[in-house]
Symmetry: C2
Subunit: 140 residues, 2 copies
């Protein structure tokens, strides 16, 4: 599953052991981490993580295209399993290009995602080819 190995922020200064070790990483450190495509082109930034309350697992990384979340900017939830951490880039890599990312399920500030609909959650997981956390279609 998630490869978050070695997300060290260069030059961020002390307290590294508070924020990250080989086994643990602070959620607050993941937010702000860049996301790249396979060729190393920067696609955007992780803004927040959505946790699955039942399992206590990270379900989705919420990603924005433009660095920091601006007014009206749409964000994309990526299933956590599609992100791979690349220590040389210092960020996460997703195996797809910008066009495909732009077509992925997204939502904006005045356009809340319907996470309460399992169908919407499933559409996210389906788009990314990730194992769904929402159970089989028809189960509600």
């Amino acid at each position: 599953m998630p490869e978050m190995e070695g997300a060290v922020t260069p030059g961020a200064g002390g307290d590294v052991a508070r924020e990250e070790t080989p086994q643990l990483i602070a959620a607050g450190k993941v937010a702000g981490t860049p996301v790249y495509d396979r060729e190393g082109a920067r696609l955007g930034t992780i803004e927040d993580l959505m946790l699955d309350k039942q399992s206590g697992r990270v379900a989705y990384a919420v990603m924005s295209f433009g660095g920091f979340l601006g007014i009206g900017e749409r964000v994309h939830p990526l299933p956590w399993s599609v992100l791979r951490y690349d220590t040389s880039l210092g960020g996460y890599v997703v195996d797809l290009d910008r066009d495909r990312l732009e077509g992925a399920p997204a939502y904006g500030p005045g356009d809340a995602p319907d996470w309460t609909s399992r169908d919407w959650g499933r559409s996210v997981d389906d788009y990314w080819g990730a194992r769904s956390i929402w159970g089989a279609p028809g189960s509600s």
Copy 2:
């Protein structure tokens, strides 16, 4: 460390469905959530979450006593499994009193936790009676 720029501020204009649903909650929303004892007395605030990279699970909630993290303030890592969310309080409840919390493993800004030592992690889990993520003693 990267700030949580994208974290939507609770109360800053709704968007509840972005931050929390019956199944999901944003990591940025957990930070800042109050922690109470069984009697409903406020013990402190969750400052951040430590994620287990291997499993993708939340391992510890890092809690401070005094509202927001002040200079020199020590923080306490609580195994995620000891926290129970109480909807009527709007915060997490832990089944112990302040004295016991004050005696729990903690660390301060100039006093990084030795998360790289499995013994330290085990001491946290032992203190709280939580199932350890660190494996059996002797396994390194």
